[in-house]
Symmetry: C2
Subunit: 277 residues, 2 copies
């Protein structure tokens, strides 16, 4: 099986490394807008070769789009609308409704809308590592609109790199990721932003133990990628921020009214998250 | 040198292990309110022996109080007010003003108000490990009120277990920890609480990747300990929550007005935290 990867950053590069460790893939081709990324990806061995999208379209069995959401939409419309019927097209975009609304009808059966729940705060080819996907979950959206042969190929690929597969509608995906992924990013960016305005470097260094470091880790993520995700999922994100703000205000209210039993109760209920994660 | 540790949970137990690895300590005695913790601490080798506080007061060079803030205050007033002048008393409480206001004058010179910026979301003797303090920072508050011999002893002890020492007033400490440590805990408890109310288990499991898991990690911390900390630092915590809520509202406003350049700029500024942590 030949796989082409468009976008050789953390996600695409790690996929290249992971696929090379499986027995099911013979060749991994890669492409990136950036010349520097292409060179780095070859040097780091993330892919076997560099090839452009029109070459991949002819030679590959699967093309994976590991680029921002807006770039995925443009690539589907401009480069892949006339893909051969035996080409499986998988996207790794972080929001799904906008992409699925934009997939040309001509390739809807080829298309697999996937969101791997994996990543770090780093980006670019040098951030890639072979175990990024191992044990992580991938959400496969609206699978009933993908032709069986393409869906099965995607399932094979995901499972061979160690992923747990969960099926969900795109609307459900965007609703739940707003709460469980995009909201935490908005919180982390806001916490980092507020603390940088309030605090001197020496106090952040002295007091920024594992709690603070852990909470602002994802604020180090790419602003280009994350402003794009916020844009694609604006309405769901705003609802999620409101939900969280109400909850924080409730905790603040318990503190302000010195209801320490209520504060303890709030924490004990929150702590039940231990039973799940 | 003989050290006594009151409270054999994560903090006290880890201190016992770390001290046993240094050459400067001959005996580590321990005590805990809980019979189970005392037995576990001996079984796990966290301390050499169990001894009560009055025995420690006579036999030890240093007594460390690794218990909640309210218990520290009670122990200073009821058990240690008549400590001999050569006993160094160190507390590990997470807020400092209330403790320093309560230290009896008779032992003020013996007393070292310290806050190690180390910890995990786990508690109890089984959570202890010898490297908890290695490379972490400890805040030593109002050092000018500690007699030199006791201050120097504390500095020796902290530096021998690998800690970086930072001096600060108690008021500064409580202000900055509200923003950099207590606020992140309030956020984490609120995020976990909100998500548990909104989301089913299966969605949390499927979508709760490293971002969400990282953000709710400290919501697994002890409600007893954290409601106590919130109580001791109520006013500073409320100001910190207000500061953060304003910042999150500002980000939400940028999203709601579709100012994607503004959102990107917000994220780029927040991301400067990379230069510090």
């Amino acid at each position: 099986m030949k796989v082409g990867i468009v976008g050789l950053g953390l996600m695409g590069g790690s996929l290249g490394l992971a696929l090379q460790k499986t027995k099911i893939v013979s060749t991994v081709s890669g492409w990136d807008l950036s010349e520097a990324h292409k060179n780095e990806a070859l040097e780091l061995g993330l892919v076997h070769e560099i090839a452009d999208i029109s070459t991949m379209k002819q030679n590959c069995d699967i093309v994976v789009l590991a680029i921002p959401v807006e770039a995925i939409i443009a690539t589907l419309k401009n480069d892949l609308f006339d893909a051969p019927s035996n080409l499986t097209i998988i996207d790794f975009g972080s929001t799904k409704r906008a992409i699925l609304d934009a997939v040309p009808d001509s390739i809807r059966g080829n298309f697999v809308a996937a969101h791997p729940m994996a990543g770090t705060e780093y980006s670019g080819p040098k951030a890639a590592f072979s175990s990024l996907y191992d044990g992580a979950t991938v959400i496969f959206c609206d699978p009933e609109l993908t032709t069986d042969r393409h869906a099965m190929r995607a399932v094979e690929l995901f499972s061979h790199i160690g992923m747990k597969i969960v099926f969900m509608s795109a609307a459900e995906h965007d609703h739940h990721t707003a709460i469980i992924s995009h909201l935490p990013h908005a919180i982390s960016f806001s916490l980092a932003s507020g603390v940088l305005q309030q605090e001197e470097r020496r106090h952040i260094v002295a007091l920024g133990g594992p709690t603070f470091s852990g909470m602002i880790r994802v604020a180090k993520s790419s602003p280009v990628m994350w402003s794009d995700i916020f844009k694609q999922n604006e309405d769901e994100l705003i609802s999620a921020i409101d939900m969280f703000s109400d909850e924080l205000a409730r905790l603040k209210g318990l503190v302000a009214s010195k209801d320490w039993q209520g504060v303890g109760e709030f924490m004990r209920k929150a702590r039940k998250i231990r039973e799940i994660l």
